[in-house]
Symmetry: C2
Subunit: 385 residues, 2 copies
């Protein structure tokens, strides 16, 4: 079987672990960061550049692709890998998060969710089974169950009911997959299915739900409903509460976050996989990541600056261009400017994971984490979205 | 001396010629196309990509760089080559064209032109000497004299007076250069200076001015005041009228144009160099060049199209991506879409020049030109700007 999760090293001083997940389109070394390819493209970056950045896996947004170009188109092209010419692993979300954050006139029932899409208002219905069918059609290497992602803040009563429904939806996704595995639907067989732990900011719900989802026995587990506007402390707790229930021989994925220090903190709490739009989204605003925090290259202080975004950074942008030149490009609204910052930021995130893997192997992850977090200053208000 | 223009082959059936111009930053094989780097960046393209496209020379817009980031900044970075990390030849225009088309409240006197820039309205003054100083500071390999580019249509009387003034300005630019060459201003010495033939759409003015400019003895000659809204026929005539006056051992550059058939027609009329924003500007609108004309990838007909933009095209976009995928990117306003079309369009223009050079060497340019022009249909209204 392709679906293996091999633990290579564990940290003695934290819950950090170094592992290797094997999927139908290749190996993913964890801790791993997944650049986000919302609409069939990681914003501003070509698949060739992703390969040059040593990207091992990207995330595709089911909802966005469902709305545009639509499933008929992607089916015609033989799946998302062929359509976008990316031959590495792809994790797809179930579309749930975007249905609950972007779509209009949502109506949630036990059966599924009816909505109008945000582009042309066309009506659609997605059930747990349909979410599985869509992800199978996309050719997903790692599929996610359909879940309801409740907003922050959320009443206990609503969160409890929603979490229970998400568990029933998770079971239906798993049953769909087992049926399709039995009937030898090759794509379903090849894909890995992750359950998602919900429970909002309530300890009791998070723990109960973690146990319930693990009891269903998925290939991996995600912590959902984080990075929805809650304080960082709540985000950390959501992972801490769920983690003891998750089996050590399965990957753990914290969805939709976060800043570089948050990633290291979560690795130290047992998380293996991350996706986040921050490196690409902030780049478009002129913001670049460095080991001492973010800098906004629009600032006048960089006009005459001949240094690269970060000294000793091995990325193409830092090897070839100065802060002053990139600042000029951003101010002049030249596309090359956001491209160069995007490349740097993705390199920064991917390289941080590479470093984390090395430090775990060396047994020095915890010192590294502490030193990095202490040296990283949040100068700009970074909103985790 | 670096400044050589070596004729390698001439066509028996037209005035086309294959030559090699040597500049301070390297060799330019002609006929040559120069991608336009308006604001210190060829829009959407990195210098590395330009090199991979076998770009030999780019154009920098003096006016745009003067306004932003400003000369102090570029001087601080040691010139435009260093600033933008492009080590090949750069031709700079004098800024005249943009002053007359973009800037506000222009006041032209014999001395020079006073204007307010289009960005923040700051006042500035550029004389022929200042235009030379600026281009020298930019580190231009090929500098252009300051000229007044009159609009189309233009009264004879105004065109005549303007053309005479441009000739006096040309003389002042040449005198500035000779003074600076004598005082061993290295950058001025290394640069090549082109005169510009004006004369609007008037045969008498064009011929008189060609003679007058050639009498001044420049390193090369440009045909200016074309591609300003005049019919294609007038554009061709402007070149035809001037060409017999231009020395065969000097390069001839038709400024700011044109479509692929126009380039071949002008090569057949003795033109060696071109610059044009069409390949980059039209790409941003979804328009791609093919040997049978342009196509707009926004069109619904391409939704399910698995072919590349053009069959057998060797560019990265055509090797790796389908029309259908690129259409999706353009419709979804993903930056990668315009990047891929831009790369294809630049490859198309550069490859067309490569083909023209080969056909001239083989003695078959004229057949090639006729066949290409006959096969190229202008489906979209292409505005030459």
């Amino acid at each position: 079987m392709l679906k293996t999760f091999e633990l290579l090293a564990t940290d003695r001083h934290s819950k950090a672990r170094r592992a290797r997940l094997t999927s139908a389109h290749g190996v993913i070394d964890t801790p791993a960061f997944m650049p986000v390819g919302t609409q069939g493209s990681v914003k501003g970056v070509s698949p060739r550049e992703l390969r040059e950045l040593n990207t091992q896996i990207i995330l595709g947004n089911t909802y966005h692709l469902f709305v545009r170009p639509g499933l008929d188109v992607i089916k015609h092209f033989g799946g998302l890998h062929n359509f976008m010419n990316w031959n590495g692993p792809i994790l797809t979300d179930s579309g749930g998060y975007q249905i609950f954050s972007l779509a209009k006139l949502r109506k949630i029932t036990e059966d599924g969710v009816e909505f109008q899409n945000h582009l042309d208002g066309a009506r659609a219905f997605i059930s747990p089974e349909i979410a599985m069918e869509i992800q199978t059609l996309l050719g997903s290497d790692i599929a996610m169950i359909l879940d309801e992602c409740v907003p922050y803040p959320c009443e206990y009563e609503y969160a409890a009911q929603s979490t229970e429904m998400t568990t029933r939806w998770a079971k239906r996704c798993l049953e769909w997959k087992r049926r399709n595995d039995e009937t030898a639907n090759q794509r379903a067989t090849d894909s890995i299915l992750f359950g998602i732990v919900q429970g909002a900011t309530f300890e009791e719900l998070r723990k109960e739900n973690a146990q319930a989802i693990v009891d269903l026995d998925f290939d991996g587990y995600a912590i959902g409903g984080v990075s929805v506007g809650e304080p960082e402390e709540e985000m950390m707790k959501a992972v801490e509460w769920a983690e003891p229930f998750l089996p050590v021989n399965k990957p753990c994925y914290a969805m939709g976050l976060g800043t570089p220090p948050q990633l290291l903190e979560l690795i130290g709490r047992g998380t293996d996989m991350f996706d986040c739009v921050l490196p690409t989204r902030l780049a478009r605003n002129g913001t670049a990541f460095t080991t001492t925090g973010t800098i906004n290259l629009k600032n006048a202080e960089f006009i005459l600056n001949k240094n690269p975004i970060e000294e000793n950074c091995a990325c193409e942008s830092c090897r070839e261009f100065s802060r002053g030149y990139i600042r000029h490009l951003i101010k002049a609204e030249e596309i090359l400017g956001l491209r160069l910052i995007t490349l740097h930021n993705l390199h920064f995130y991917l390289n941080l994971m590479d470093r984390a893997r090395t430090e775990i192997e060396k047994g020095t992850f915890n010192q590294f984490r502490k030193a990095f977090v202490a040296g990283y200053k949040t100068r700009d208000a970074v909103t985790v979205e």
